[in-house]
């Protein structure tokens, strides 16, 4: 392993160089810039493959390698060595990011074909890949934070990519800012966590912190865990920092696929799993993680049922699926492997679904309203089949990949923690319920797009399949959606693969027998799917959205999350700001205003003494001399008197 570890920096290096060349090269690179971007990403993927094969050939206990590069910071007691940590966990991520990233790069070449800024787009994509790889390869929280901010910047730049020349330019820019600001709220948590870790452990590198986590007091561990959870919530669009993800769909669809579905938004889950030892030392924080995951998974699922915009429905689905991962990450070692497993399969099928959605939009002239789709299966067969694979995968139908990972999570949720069966029942039920709702909204999405007896297109629509550059990535991702789960899931291959990092999980019995869980889940999933099929494939779908029930209207508005943020955070903040403004202007400024007033008043008073008559001044002088003479005389008299007394 150590002989190829030297390649690891090139994982980050290739896309970073690509981004630098594309950004600095300017218009000169316009003609071939996109291919450079693809090549940089592909080069990373090749390196990743080499490293993976070498790692598979290495005994499991030697698979985790820390590769120190150089001393980064040396400030007082804080010494941070910049280095990369290569272990099965990070390598899984590296594989996902580079492989899916490369596919999406290829897809983007065609998707962004007509965009004048394609070169800049690829520069940002490469920047994102580099930052994401920095994030997952970091061997300390500080370097992780660098990557964390890097992906945030790339995300911001790409959400607001179309910030000029389009009718929606302004909304895009606002969406980018919203994502950026909400992510900063989470970043505060990461910074606070680092500060606490440095104060208690004296280091922020994984090698020092994670083994020491068991020795932390429970209060400290809880504080660190909750701060990390805040960071994860911001990055992964988890409740209560979830509002930005839906708006982030303003970015080009490949961006939504890569950043806001497959990779960046799962960084929070990565952070949770990476910080596993800390969470394990803090049961309260773990419980909060599970609760956040459960709430988000239901939240996203409910929102997803009402969205008519195909990308927003997928975004809600992403939120919900990451909720599953967070729930699993909060369950301890038993859940970590499934969290990452689901993350991996989700990365494939959700990227496939997004790219499929992009393909549909491409065919329909950037239309995103599913009520104006319908009957597309005949015109977009490849998209139809690959998205179908993704649909089955996310539903969790065996043997598609989602089944292997999601079922693992549901089973893990049913395992009682600390001998508390109520938790198993509550979270298990939530997971199953979420699976049923997922089945409903994904089936709705699928059949509203491809099914239906009657197309509901707008005028002059001639849908057709895109270029091979667009559908080959779809095929790859479709195959992954279909087979990846089975390949890695049967026999617990993936769990074993991650064991060196997350530790071996003792097998606990769920509160229900495993076959019963699987059966119940599948029955509910099929019921949900059947209901959606009846409503959106058999019945006619109205072109205008019906008013709907209260719940539908609420879900369309993201369950009033923006209104809640507005009321709970923005308005009080405005109030405080106004208070400060008023205080500053009316109290502080006016207060200081008294000083010049007093000065000018005294000035006006003394001004009267300046008569301009030289004789008045002379009188003043002479009077002063007189006073001084009298005083001096008195002092001498008194002093003399005293002297005489002594």
């Amino acid at each position: 392993m150590n002989d190829v570890i030297g390649l690891a920096p090139w994982l980050v290096g290739f896309p970073l160089i690509g981004a630098a060349v594309l950004l600095l090269g300017g218009r000169a690179t316009d003609r071939w810039g996109h291919w450079l971007g693809v090549a940089a990403s592909a080069a990373s993927a090749v390196v990743a493959f080499i490293l993976m094969f070498r790692m598979i050939g290495t005994p499991p206990e030697e698979r985790a390698v820390d590769h120190g590069l150089w001393t980064w910071l040396s400030a007082g007691g804080l010494d941070v060595d910049l280095g990369l940590r290569l272990d099965p966990l990070s390598l899984t991520f590296v594989m996902l990011v580079t492989f899916v990233g490369t596919l999406i790069h290829v897809y983007s070449v065609a998707y962004m074909d007509h965009d004048v800024d394609r070169r800049r787009f690829f520069a940002y994509l490469n920047l994102f890949v580099a930052a994401m790889l920095t994030l997952v390869l970091a061997d300390s929280y500080l370097l992780l934070f660098v990557g964390w901010e890097g992906v945030g910047v790339a995300s911001y730049l790409l959400i607001g990519f179309w910030d000029t020349g389009r009718p929606s330019a302004r909304e895009n820019a606002v969406a980018a800012k919203k994502a950026f600001v909400m992510n900063r709220v989470g970043d505060m948590g990461l910074i606070a966590a680092m500060a606490i870790l440095f104060a208690t452990v004296g280091s922020v590198s994984f090698a020092d912190v994670l083994p020491a986590a068991g020795g932390l007091s429970e209060t400290t561990a809880t504080a660190v865990g909750l701060c990390l959870l805040l960071a994860a919530c911001g990055k992964s669009a988890q409740f209560p920092l979830q509002a930005w993800l839906g708006d982030a769909m303003a970015g080009p669809t490949p961006v939504s696929a890569l950043i806001h579905a497959a990779t960046m938004v799962t960084a929070g889950v990565y952070l949770m799993v990476r910080s596993g030892p800390i969470l394990e030392a803090a049961p309260t924080a773990q419980l909060v993680v599970v609760v956040v995951g459960a709430v988000t998974l239901l939240f996203g699922a409910v929102v997803g049922t009402a969205k008519d915009d195909i990308k927003k429905a997928l975004a809600a689905s992403t939120m919900s699926q990451i909720g599953y991962m967070m729930l699993a990450a909060g369950l301890g070692p038993a859940g970590y492997a499934f969290a990452i497993f689901h993350l991996l399969t989700h990365g494939f099928f959700k990227a496939g679904l997004f790219l499929g959605a992009g393909s549909v939009m491409h065919a329909m002239g950037d239309q995103t309203d599913m009520r104006r789709f319908g009957g597309l299966s005949r015109f977009l067969p490849i998209t139809w089949i690959t998205m179908g694979l993704g649909w089955l995968a996310i539903l969790g139908i065996p043997p598609f990949s989602g089944f292997w990972s999601k079922d693992g999570i549901i089973e893990a949720a049913f395992v009682p923690v600390d001998g508390q069966p109520w938790r198993a029942w509550v979270f298990g039920s939530v997971a199953v319920l979420g699976a049923a709702i997922t089945a409903f909204y994904m089936t709705r999405l699928f059949f509203m797009t491809f099914g239906g007896r009657r197309p509901r297109w707008t005028e002059n629509q001639h849908p057709h399949e895109g270029s091979p550059l667009m559908w080959w990535p779809l095929v790859f991702l479709g195959v992954g959606s279909a087979a990846l789960g089975a390949v890695l899931g049967i026999g617990g291959t993936f769990t074993t693969w991650l064991e060196p990092v997350v530790g071996h999980a003792e097998h606990h019995e769920p509160v229900l027998p495993v076959p019963a869980i699987i059966t119940v889940t599948l029955v509910l999933v099929v019921l949900g799917a059947a209901l959606a099929f009846r409503m959106y494939a058999v019945a006619l779908v109205p072109e205008e959205a019906p008013r709907g029930s209260f719940l539908t209207r609420a879900a369309r508005k993201d369950l009033y999350q923006d209104a809640a943020n507005e009321t709970l955070v923005v308005l009080p903040a405005h109030g405080v700001a106004r208070l400060v403004q008023v205080g500053d202007r009316d109290v502080v400024d006016r207060g200081w205003g008294v000083l010049p007033l007093a000065v000018s008043w005294f000035g006006a008073m003394f001004r009267k003494a300046q008569t301009g008559y030289v004789r008045s001044y002379a009188a003043g002088m002479a009077g002063g001399v007189l006073v001084i003479a009298v005083v001096a005389w008195l002092v001498i008299q008194l002093g003399g008197g005293l002297g005489g007394a002594q």
Partner: protein, 99 residues
């Protein structure tokens, strides 16, 4: 008769000179008041020189005279200039520099 009487005389003359400066408006008379004050101090100097048997007092009186002569030359030149431009020798007319 005491030599102190001379000093008292000097003090009285000085006070009269000062009062002249304060009360008269003709710049030339004001100037005369200043000269009277200078002469009064000279008398005191000379008296003290005699009292202490030290010629330094007389030397200082001498210097005062010389400086007073120089001052008179410049001061009167200023008065002449002002009179030439403003047709007035009253110190109250030159009061533009006021608050």
């Amino acid at each position: 008769m005491d030599v102190t009487n001379y000093v008292v005389l000097a003090a009285v003359l000085f006070a009269i000179g000062a009062t002249t400066v304060l009360l008269r408006r003709n710049a030339i008379v004001v100037f005369m008041g200043v000269e009277l004050m200078l002469n009064a101090t000279n008398l005191a100097f000379v008296t003290f020189a005699r009292m202490h048997g030290d010629l330094t007092g007389q030397v200082l009186a001498f210097f005062v005279m010389v400086v007073a002569a120089a001052e008179v030359v410049v001061g009167l030149a200023i008065i002449v200039t002002i009179f030439r431009t403003r047709r007035s020798a009253s110190v109250d007319d030159v009061n533009l520099l006021r608050g």
